[in-house]
Amino acid sequence: MEALLSDPRIQSAAAPFVVAALLTGIFLYLGGIRGPVIAGLALLIGFFAAYWLVLGPPPWPPRGASHKIAYIVLAAGVLGFLLDLARTPPLGVRIVVIAGGIGAALWLMGARFDLNDPITWLWPALPIVLIWIAVLGRLEARGDDPLAAPALLVVVAVGASLVALYSRSASIAQLAGALGAATAGYAFWNWPTERMELARAALFGAGAAWLGLMTQLALFTRAEMWALVALLVVFLADQPAARVVARFLPTGNWFGRAVGPLAHGALVAIPAAAAVVIAQALAPSGSGY
């Protein structure tokens, strides 16, 4: 059993997928009217299961970005859960997204910049903070589609995983892979038939996990910056891809509902594939060790 749980494929793919998928189903069908809201937590539990297997429990207070990410994901998930429970109006959600994005990004950047000296950190930090807000806002905006936001998250998570792998950051690669797997396990219940509205706990928790891992890659590893930028293009490709899919694979029939999300994922995966190619091309030639 121990050998099984130390297998990276189990840790980063099978375990988070199975945990998220099983718990989503259980929460969805036992949670009654609150089922879809509670089911969002299943994605986070799947991610944390993988986190535990890869890195162990995060210490408090956290010492580095890897530990901070765990607490940021937890906070984002709980906030999303509470926003859903309270049926918070859009303005309130926007305020939480902006404040949460700023807070999480600055906390992660703390080890890189002297926050007491705004002149040195403001300009380099600004793009990262804006990316946090933009991505979380984008996921919130796409939350009304049962599979669009999960498709985006799966694609960017798998892309980040491969970019991290080429930058010799195996634990980040594993966590990003686990995020993609947990998201797929959660969204599996909406494919091909929609069974639940997406929960903000899932969208914000998964979004924060991805943004945290990307920030860690950008600031504390030798990941290729152009590869990370290419991954962000996935979010710009979302709308054009959705239009193409809607034109050729309308969701009015079973085939469209089954294949449409896959086609959407394949289209937005183009910039993610470019990111991986960039990372692979710029990485030192691999001989293993």
């Binding site: 130390s6 890869v54 890195l55 162990g56 210490p59 010492r63 580095g64 970005a65 890897s66 080890a111 890189r112 930058s167 010799r168 950051s169 195996a170 634990s171 980040i172 860690q216 600031l219 504390f220 590893t221 030798r222 030192p284 691999g286 001989s287 060790y289």
Partner: protein, 196 residues
């Protein structure tokens, strides 16, 4: 200028006189670590096949040393974690990543002695705070005092040299990644040359 007291003490050490203990009262002198003649090597088990050796190429430090009272001395060393070198570029990049030394967030590894115990004529145990990845743990090293003498290439300079070995558990510092294949127990080998 060479302090005659120091030369006398060195002579005592070289003849094996009880870790330089002499009845004459002396004081700690400060020595600067010579990075060109100081090495910190480590070895770690690789999947049970072999021991992989690595080193850090950049470090700085100082020590306080009184040959008449070694136990009153102190030693500190600051290591540039980015300078890790295992003679394999890809592995070194991986070692710098958040999986291991996480040099982006924790660029320095430090050791600051807290106690020195004399155990023999020219041996002792140095215990100190070893800080890595933001975690400080006590680490003890067995130290052999090699020599203290005027340096032949720089007039007026006195040098001392030590060899030390110790061990630590990387998991104690939160470096847990890959512990099912890569050993947790790290053996350290330190060679220090310092001058004043």
């Amino acid at each position: 200028m060479i302090d005659p007291k120091r030369i006398s003490a060195t002579a005592l050490c070289l003849t094996g006189a009880a870790m330089c203990i002499s009845p004459a009262a002396a004081e700690n002198a400060t020595y600067e670590v010579d990075p060109g003649h100081t090495s910190l090597y480590f070895k770690v088990d690789h999947l049970g096949f072999s021991q992989t050796f690595g080193r850090f190429n950049t470090m700085a430090g100082s020590l306080e040393f009184d040959p008449d009272d070694p136990a009153s001395g102190s030693f500190n060393l600051t290591i540039d974690a980015n300078s890790v070198d295992t003679n394999h570029q890809e592995r070194d990049d991986h070692l710098r990543s958040p999986d291991f030394f996480n040099t982006g967030e924790f660029p320095e590894i430090t050791f600051a002695s807290t106690a020195i115990e004399v155990t023999g004529d020219n041996t002792g145990t140095v215990t100190g705070d070893f800080t890595m990845l933001g975690v400080t743990q006590p680490v003890s090293m067995d130290v052999t005092f090699n020599t203290m003498a005027p340096y032949p290439f720089v007039e007026g300079q006195t040098r001392i040299g030590f060899s030390a070995t110790g061990s630590l558990n990387r998991g104690d510092f939160g470096m847990t990644y890959g512990s099912d294949g890569i050993g947790n127990d790290i053996t350290l080998f330190v060679e220090v040359e310092a001058f004043r």
